[in-house]
C-alpha cells in the first residue's frame, strides 16, 4: 500500500530514473560479526534519505562505507554508476558531517570551512576560495563568527560550522551522522527545518543517520528502517507511519496498539481477527498477500481510536469495531491526552484524543467505563 503525498518528488517510483547510489548485495563483516547483511538499496539524486534504527543496527556502517572509511566484505556500491570500492575518502565526491562535528580546534571557523577547498581543484585560486567560504558563512548565518575558534562559539553554531564545512566542496552526496544529537530539543526542531531548507536550496543529496524517529519523519523524503544489519522497510514517512510492513516497523515508529490474533480467510478484502475470548472479532482490511486463515497482528495508532462514555452511534453499522473497557490511566500532555483503557479480556489499548475543551469540562476520568471504537480501515493487519 502506498500513501499518497502531494510533494511531486518521487524518483523511486519512476522505473526510468537512475539512482545516484546503488548498494548491490552488500555485506560487511567485522570479524565474526555481520554488521550489514546482503543489502540492496537505491538512493536517488536530490533525495533526503534517512537511515533509522536502534544503535548497533548497522546504519553508521552504511554511512562509513559511503564515505570510504570501510569497504564492503562482499557486494558492490555504485556512485553515479561507478563502483567506488577501494576509492579512498579523499577522492570521493562525498562529504560527511560527523556526529561530534569534528571541527579542527586549532583553526578558526573561516579556516575550518576553507580546509577542504584548499585541497580541491581551486586550491590555487585564493579569491574563489574566499568567495565560496563567504557564501557558506552566509548560508549558515555565521558571518559574525568567521574569526572565532570552535571553542568560542555555542553548540548550535558549531553544528552550523560543521554543516558549512561539509557543504563547501559542493559534494554530490552529503552524509550526516546524527547531526542534531547534541542539540537541545527546541534548537533541534529549528535546525531540522533549516537543514531541509539548505538541502532544497543546494540541491545536494543528503543521507542522514538517526535513531530519532521524529527527526527522520520530519526531514526525510524516504526513510529506511533498519534492524540487525537488514533494511526492514524503505518508504516515505507517511507510508512508514500509516502502512508499516511489519510489527517491528510499526512498533519502532511512534506509538501503536498491537492485537495478536487469529484471522479468518479474507472475504471482499476484509477479514475478522479473533483476539480475545468472549469479545467480537476485529473487522479489518486484509493485506494483499494474505491467503486463507493466519496468525496475525492487528496494529492501530492511538489517535485512530475514538473514546467516549457511550457506544458511538455515528459509526456505520457493520463496519465499525467497538469495545467496552475501563480507563486505568490518563496521561495529560496539554494538547492531547492519552487514555489507557483495559478491555474485558485484559487487553490494554492506548487512545489519544485532542483536548479541544478545557480541563474542567472533560467527562472521562479514572476508573470510568468507556467505549472505544475504530473503523475497519483505521488499522493494519500485519502478517510478520
Amino acid at each position: 500500500m502506498e500513501i499518497q503525498e502531494n510533494t511531486g518528488f518521487a524518483p523511486w517510483g519512476d522505473p526510468e530514473a537512475k539512482p545516484l547510489i546503488r548498494f548491490q548485495n552488500v555485506t560487511k563483516r567485522f570479524g565474526t560479526f555481520t554488521a550489514i547483511d546482503n543489502l540492496t538499496l537505491d538512493i536517488y539524486a536530490r533525495e533526503f534519505f534517512a537511515l533509522l534504527g536502534p544503535s548497533g543496527c548497522g546504519k553508521t556502517t552504511i554511512m562509513r562505507m559511503l564515505a570510504g572509511f570501510e569497504d564492503p566484505s562482499e557486494g558492490e556500491i555504485f556512485l553515479d554508476g561507478e563502483n567506488i570500492a577501494g576509492v579512498p575518502p579523499n577522492r570521493r565526491p562525498v562529504n560527511m558531517m560527523f556526529q561530534s562535528y569534528a571541527l579542527f580546534p586549532h583553526l578558526s571557523v573561516w579556516d575550518n570551512i576553507a580546509f577542504g577547498l584548499r585541497r580541491s581543484e581551486m586550491a590555487r585560486d585564493k579569491t574563489r576560495i574566499a568567495a565560496r567560504v563567504e557564501e557558506m558563512l552566509k548560508l549558515t548565518r555565521l558571518e559574525k563568527f568567521a574569526r572565532r575558534k570552535p571553542h568560542q562559539i555555542s553548540g548550535g553554531q558549531r553544528q552550523r560550522v560543521a554543516l558549512a564545512r561539509s557543504l563547501a566542496k559542493a559534494p554530490r552526496l552529503l552524509l550526516l551522522d546524527e547531526p542534531l544529537g547534541a542539540l537541545d530539543k527546541k534548537l533541534r526542531q529549528e535546525t531540522q527545518f533549516e537543514l531541509m531548507d539548505i538541502q532544497e536550496r543546494t540541491g545536494t543529496t543528503f543521507v542522514i543517520v538517526t535513531h530519532d524517529q521524529e527527526e527522520a519523519m520530519t526531514v526525510a523524503s524516504r526513510v529506511a528502517v533498519m534492524d540487525h544489519g537488514k533494511i526492514v522497510q524503505v518508504d516515505t514517512p507517511a507510508t512508514i507511519y500509516e502502512a508499516p510492513n511489519s510489527v517491528y516497523v510499526a512498533d519502532f515508529i511512534g506509538e501503536i496498539n498491537i492485537f495478536k490474533g487469529h484471522a479468518s480467510p479474507p472475504r471482499d478484502g476484509f477479514c475478522e481477527i479473533a483476539f480475545a475470548e468472549g469479545l467480537a472479532p476485529i473487522r479489518a482490511r486484509a493485506p494483499e498477500e494474505m491467503q486463507g486463515e493466519a496468525e496475525v497482528s492487528f496494529a492501530i495508532r492511538p489517535e485512530k481510536v475514538l473514546i467516549g462514555p457511550e457506544r458511538p452511534p455515528e459509526l456505520p453499522e457493520g463496519r465499525a469495531n467497538a469495545y467496552r473497557g475501563k480507563v486505568i490511566d490518563i496521561a495529560y500532555l496539554g494538547n492531547i491526552s492519552t487514555y489507557h483503557v483495559e478491555l474485558a479480556g485484559g487487553q490494554k489499548v492506548k487512545v489519544q484524543a485532542a483536548n479541544t475543551r478545557r480541563i474542567q469540562r472533560r467527562t472521562i476520568t479514572w476508573e470510568q467505563e468507556v467505549w472505544i471504537s475504530f473503523t475497519d480501515t483505521a488499522g493494519v493487519v500485519l502478517t510478520r
Partner: protein, 271 residues
C-alpha cells in the same frame, strides 16, 4: 584570604623547610668570600667570576647542552612515531611485546642500561665521546616521550583525522595539518622531559662518555669527590635560577592562556 590555623602553618613551614633549606644554604654559600665552603667569610661574587674563567667547566657545560638538544630532538621524533604505532595500528602480531619493550627502559636501573650500552659500544668498536652519550640518551629518553605522546593520542578524537581525509587530505597531509598541531603540546612536553633527563643524567653518561667529552654532571660529581669547592656552589645556584625562571614562566603562560580561554568561552555563550 582565610587565616591559616597554627597547625596548618607549622606543617607548611616544616614541609617547605625540608624541601628548600638545603638549596637556600647552597645559594647563600655561593656568595661566600672565603675558600672554605662551610665557613662564612663575607659577601662576594668572586666564585662566579672564577667559574666563568674555568675552561673545563665551560666546555663540559657546552657538551651537556649539545647532547641534550640533539638527543631530546631525536628521541622526540622516535618516541612520537612509536606512540602512533602503539595507539593507532590496533592489534598486530607482537604488539604486546613491542609495547612492553618500549616501556621497559622506564623501570630499568640506569646502571644496567649504562653498562649494556658500554658493552655494545665496545663490541661494535665505537669510540666513546659525545656521539655515544647522545645515542645512550636517545635510547633511554625515547620511552618517556612515547608515554607522554601516547597518553595524548589516546584521548584524541579519531573523527578529526577522518574529517581531514573526508575533506581531501592524504593520510600524511591529515597528520601534518590536523593531528600534529593538536598533539603539539604533548610532543613539546615530551621534548622538555627528554631534555631535562639528558641534562641531569650522571650514571648513563659516565658509562658512555670518553676522555674527550665530559658532561656537566660528571664534572661536578668528580670535582665534589676531591672536596666541595665554592665554584660548584656558584654553578648550582645558576642552574637553580635557570630552572626556577623556566618553571615560573611556563606556569604564568599556561595560567594566562586558561584565563583567556575562559573569557572567550564566556563571551561566546553570553550573546
Amino acid at each position: 584570604m582565610r587565616r591559616l590555623s597554627w597547625f596548618n602553618l607549622t606543617s607548611l613551614t616544616l614541609g617547605l623547610a625540608f624541601l628548600y633549606l638545603p638549596m637556600v644554604i647552597l645559594v647563600i654559600y655561593s656568595f661566600n668570600g672565603g675558600k672554605l665552603v662551610t665557613v662564612w667569610a663575607g659577601f662576594s661574587t668572586k666564585w662566579y667570576g672564577e667559574l666563568f674563567r674555568d675552561e673545563a667547566f665551560l666546555k663540559a657545560a657546552w657538551v651537556t647542552l649539545k647532547v641534550a638538544v640533539i638527543s631530546s630532538t631525536v628521541a622526540t621524533l622516535l618516541g612520537t612515531m612509536a606512540a602512533i604505532v602503539l595507539v593507532r595500528t590496533g592489534r598486530f602480531l607482537g604488539r604486546t611485546l613491542f609495547s612492553g619493550m618500549i616501556y621497559a627502559p622506564l623501570v630499568m636501573p640506569d646502571v644496567i642500561t649504562g653498562l649494556a650500552l658500554l658493552l655494545l659500544f665496545i663490541a661494535i668498536g665505537l669510540d666513546r665521546g659525545a656521539t655515544t652519550i647522545v645515542l645512550a640518551h636517545i635510547t633511554f629518553s625515547m620511552c618517556f616521550v612515547s608515554v607522554v605522546v601516547a597518553s595524548r593520542l589516546q584521548s584524541f578524537d579519531r573523527s578529526l583525522e577522518e574529517a581531514a581525509l573526508d575533506l581531501g587530505c592524504t593520510p600524511l597531509d591529515a597528520f601534518r595539518s590536523v593531528t600534529l598541531p593538536i598533539i603539539a603540546p604533548a610532543v613539546i612536553s615530551g621534548w622538555l622531559l627528554a631534555f631535562t633527563l639528558s641534562l641531569d643524567d650522571l650514571v648513563i653518561a659516565s658509562f658512555t662518555s670518553g676522555p674527550s667529552s665530559t658532561t656537566l654532571p660528571i664534572k661536578i660529581f668528580s670535582a665534589v669527590r676531591l672536596g666541595v669547592n665554592p665554584e660548584i656552589n656558584a654553578l648550582s645556584t645558576i642552574m637553580i635560577a635557570i630552572v626556577t625562571t623556566g618553571v615560573i614562566t611556563a606556569s604564568l603562560l599556561s595560567k594566562r592562556s586558561i584565563a583567556r580561554r575562559a573569557r572567550e568561552e564566556q563571551e561566546a555563550f553570553g550573546q
